[in-house]
């Protein structure tokens, strides 16, 4: 497959954007049903996106103009690249290069970095506050997330290529199974860290709507805001897909296996939505204590169990 086409159309930008919009609709609809409401129509995320594209772009006086406008684009490019790498590994496990798992981990951080840079560039005290919270949250959740990602690497005998991880799980069953408690613990840790990486409740501390008015995004309007929203929707698709690849054995598209594959992803998505609808927001210091305390200890336990071959 032509790499440029792959990046722009099929597993890359267009595909991820369309599915991301669909997925964010599912998120909003499930939220509405949990609150006993009807919820938005199917095309609502698309309407929001088109409307934001048609609005005026306001650049605040005294802000760093180029950084302010480029930050959302970097985030979008990074999440597109991650999605392309993940889907190429799922579709063609033989392809890919050694160490693309590490590349994926790095690029998953860049959307958060883009939010931080954009927030600081917009010269607004509230945006700066939100960006500094985002930075602390990133410091907090990276450590347990990487500990969780190390577990499948150890279990598959030191594979750091995504395709090898998929092949290993095709041959020996998924990492998340009752024979290996380390895999189960690692998935739990990864889901908690994912909630923070997506900045959803209980870890929506950076953009706390009722407290600091959507934080780093406060000065954004029109197309740049649309790009940020799209990045968030695509993250909501890409990050659970990464976990599906790492822990649940990727996806298969032969016959009935396709339903089982989709179920894996939808189960993770609904889990995220239910966590977000049944928890209050925590403070940033509580979040850091939580991540560096219990969650990191759980992650270390998982790594030790994996090293012992459990």
């Amino acid at each position: 497959m032509n790499p440029i086409l792959a990046y722009l159309i099929f597993p890359g930008f267009l595909f991820t954007a369309v599915v991301g919009m669909l997925v964010s609709w599912i998120d909003r609809k499930v939220t509405a049903r949990v609150q006993w409401r009807v919820g938005p129509p199917l095309l609502q995320p698309l309407y929001d996106f088109i409307k934001l594209l048609g609005k005026e772009t306001i650049i605040p006086k005294g802000s760093s103009r180029i950084t302010f406008l480029l930050a959302p684009v970097f985030g979008l490019a990074a999440v597109t690249l991650v999605s392309t790498l993940i889907w190429m590994a799922i579709l063609f496990p033989e392809k890919g290069f050694t160490g693309d798992l590490i590349v994926v981990i790095y690029f998953l951080m860049i959307p958060s970095l883009a939010v931080i840079i954009g927030g600081f560039a917009s010269k607004n005290p509230i945006a700066s506050l939100g960006a500094s919270r985002e930075m602390k949250l990133m410091l907090a959740d990276e450590l347990p997330f990487i500990l969780a990602v190390i577990v499948p690497v150890i279990q598959s005998g030191g594979a750091i290529r995504l395709g090898e991880l998929v092949n290993h799980q095709n041959n020996y069953g998924m990492i998340f199974s009752w024979q290996y408690p380390s895999g189960i613990i690692a998935l739990v840790v990864a889901v908690i860290a994912m909630q923070a990486k997506l900045t959803l409740v209980p870890f929506d501390i950076p953009e706390a709507e009722t407290e600091i008015m959507s934080g780093p995004y406060v000065e954004y309007s029109g197309p740049p805001l649309a790009v940020f929203k799209l990045t968030r929707m695509m993250m909501l698709f890409t990050l659970p897909m990464t976990l599906v690849l790492l822990f649940l054995g990727g996806m298969h598209f032969q016959g009935w296996a396709i339903l089982w594959s989709i179920l894996k992803y939808v189960a993770l998505l609904v889990l995220i939505t239910l966590i977000r609808n049944t928890n209050p927001r925590v403070r940033i210091d509580q979040a850091m204590k939580f991540f560096w305390g219990p969650v990191t200890i759980l992650g270390i336990v998982a790594v030790v169990l994996a090293l012992l071959g459990r």
């Binding site: 095309l43 409307k51 709507e209």
Partner: protein, 141 residues
Amino acid sequence: MGIKLKALTKSPWVYHLSTGSCNNCDIEILDCLTPRYDLERFGIVLVGSPRHADALLVTGNMTLKCIPRAKEVYEQMPKPGVVIAVGTCSLGHGLFSGSYVMPKTVDEVLPVDIYIPGCPPKPEAIIAGVAKLLKTLRQKA
């Protein structure tokens, strides 16, 4: 202009601006956003920043201190955008007519698109008013 306005009618994000109201209309607006009335069906979401807003929901009549601030908030809202005046006070002076701190009505300061009367208006009345506004905008687009 066509598709811009059309998309706007499908997802109007609302910023709630209180310019010296008695808080009654504000509570009724919050009632609109509860699960019972469920405005997210129309794509209406309450946003925290005027930069994200498509509609400015103004309650109360303009006090002297609020006039420059209301103008500033209106200028911060990216265009195209609409202004909705809610409650009897924001239509004229209401209960406070003749007061020395309230020299102007809302429509003397901001270009109001629709007026929703009532002291306070019921949530049903607010929803009906917004739906009428969206209908006229859709015809204009």
